[in-house]
């Protein structure tokens, strides 16, 4: 038993070493500034592994931590994750409550002193229509944002509850309000003004370079439609989110690097 435990420890250490070498090698080439994940497939993963749906979401959170750490080691400046859609409130009350409870716990866990965000100097932005969240989750979100406000090395956008159309509408609303306050002057609302009022932009996020959707579904599902419709690499992975790992992520970064090098050669 001790030998087996020892061998397992050795295997984990070796895997971790190899992963660090791979990430170190990838960081020698062009690295995306902003990566967004649509974390799809938690429920199908749970069903496939005879687990409860709530366990699927918990495992999904572990994957989020893992991938966030990989991105931060790669020196990606901004990571966004689609944690909860406004449409997801239509799911069963049990599942919604479980997700809200998970969000409340994990938000504060992530921002604790010494934990991941603190370790890498990451500022957390909770992006979305937070007024729709239950009071306890909204308070946890605000507290988590406050705890990381001083961090400047990178940004983590946790999109919940979010839809792109809601974000665009809010941005248009802000632009119109600002213009109405300056009566008499010419109306100068451009697409750049709307871009500046998006929640991601207000949080300091750079332009989106890669959008990854897992679970094999090839849809955008109302996520970052404004941000991803021009120069973003859209990547659809067939792996369910809780199973998503470095082996799935490496080809995505390699494709990005090839694209950047090819663009440099052409110009």
């Amino acid at each position: 038993m001790f030998i087996r435990r020892g061998l397992r420890w050795l295997r984990d250490k070796l895997v971790e070493r190899v992963q660090r070498v791979i990430v170190g090698a990838l960081a020698a080439g062009p690295v995306p500034r902003h990566i967004a994940f649509v974390m799809d497939g938690n429920r199908r993963y749970a069903r496939m592994n005879q687990k409860k749906v709530q366990q699927g979401h918990s495992d999904g959170f572990l994957t989020l931590r893992r991938m966030l750490e990989v991105c931060l080691r790669l020196d990606v400046k901004c990571v966004s994750a689609y944690a909860f859609s406004i449409e997801n409130f239509k799911r069963s009350p049990d599942e919604v409550n479980a997700l809200m409870s998970l969000a409340e716990d994990k938000l504060l866990e992530l921002c604790r002193h010494g934990d991941l965000l603190d370790q890498y100097g990451v500022r957390l932005n909770v992006v979305g229509n937070v007024d729709l969240l239950p009071d306890n989750v909204r308070n946890a979100a605000r507290k988590a944002e406050t705890m990381t406000r001083h961090n400047k090395s990178a940004i983590f956008n946790l999109c919940m509850p979010y839809t792109s159309r809601d974000e665009i509408t809010t941005a248009v609303q802000s632009c119109v309000r600002n213009a109405l306050q300056h009566s008499g002057s010419e109306i100068h609302i451009t697409e750049h003004d709307i871009d500046d009022q998006l929640m991601t932009s207000l949080g300091g996020s750079p332009p989106l370079d890669i959008l990854v959707r897992t679970s094999g579904v090839k849809r955008l599902s109302d996520y970052m439609l404004w941000q991803c419709c021009e120069a973003t690499q859209l990547q659809f992975s067939s792996t369910y989110w809780p199973d998503f790992g470095l082996l799935d992520f490496v080809p995505i970064i390699l494709d990005f690097q090839l694209k950047v090098w090819s663009h440099r050669l052409q110009s």
Partner: protein
């Protein structure tokens, strides 16, 4: 260290290129050919959108010719497959500038008779002024904020103009093949759009909202509630230039 990391990165890229090449080769060897375009399918999209990217090395005439040919092909395939709405996007607006040429290039094919149909003769004869002219020319949509050119591609007309038009009806309406044929006989809508239909259209809607609210000249007594906009309201505005006002 950076040199070693760079070397490792090149090695990883080399291995990746080999894996991709082998994977592509294997996929080509084991690929199952798709069914013919006109084969009956369980599900057909109601609306298909295609994004065309023009080769930056080609000149304007070559680009236009390639675009027209590609759009005409896409229209024919959609008509055969039974797709009723086709949107074609080209960023710079080249499609819109050659919309007339696209329209003139789309063939209107004659409908073929099927042998196992029964023929119903209508009680009243058709209008005798049937002409073989095409339907209306490309139209610019001006009732939405989404600028586009719409081409209504008619269903195939009768083969000969006559005082009596013959309506053919198949025996088995529920048969997939027959319903597929009926679908392909419906008129089709072709939308040609450019980048102007994207973010600039939303900015245009925002400017319209400002103008509208300024023109309303709401009473200044008391505090005015701040302007509010919902997702559904913006959607309605974009698609139909209709606004729900909260006064």
């Amino acid at each position: 260290m950076p040199l070693i990391a760079s070397f490792f990165l090149r090695l990883i890229h080399f291995i990746y290129a080999v894996v991709i090449a082998l994977h592509s080769f294997w996929k080509r060897r084991t690929m199952i050919s798709p069914l013919p375009i006109g084969a009956p399918r369980r599900r057909i999209p109601k609306h298909l959108a295609l994004l065309f990217v023009v080769d930056s090395n080609s000149n304007a005439e070559q680009a236009e010719t390639a675009l027209v040919e590609s759009v005409v092909n896409a229209v024919e395939w959609c008509r055969t497959a039974g797709i009723e709405n086709l949107t074609v996007y080209e960023e710079s607006g080249l499609l819109i500038s050659c919309s007339q040429r696209i329209y003139d290039s789309i063939p209107i094919q004659l409908q073929e008779c099927s042998s196992d149909s029964e023929i119903d003769y209508p009680l009243t004869p058709p209008p005798s002024d049937y002409s073989e002219s095409r339907s209306l020319s490309p139209q610019h949509q001006d009732n939405t904020f989404i600028p586009s050119v719409v081409l209504r591609i008619p269903a195939s007309p009768p083969s000969k103009p006559s005082r009596r038009s013959i309506i053919r009806r198949t025996r088995k309406r529920k048969d997939a093949t027959n319903s597929h044929e009926l679908q392909s006989q419906k008129p089709m809508l072709l939308f040609l759009v450019s980048r102007e239909a994207s973010k600039p259209a939303i900015a245009s809607a925002a400017r319209y909202l400002v103008q509208l609210h300024r023109n309303l000249q709401l009473p200044s007594t008391g505090s005015k509630p701040p302007f509010r906009l919902s997702v559904d309201e913006l959607n309605l505005l974009m698609e139909s230039k209709c606004v729900m006002l909260h006064i």
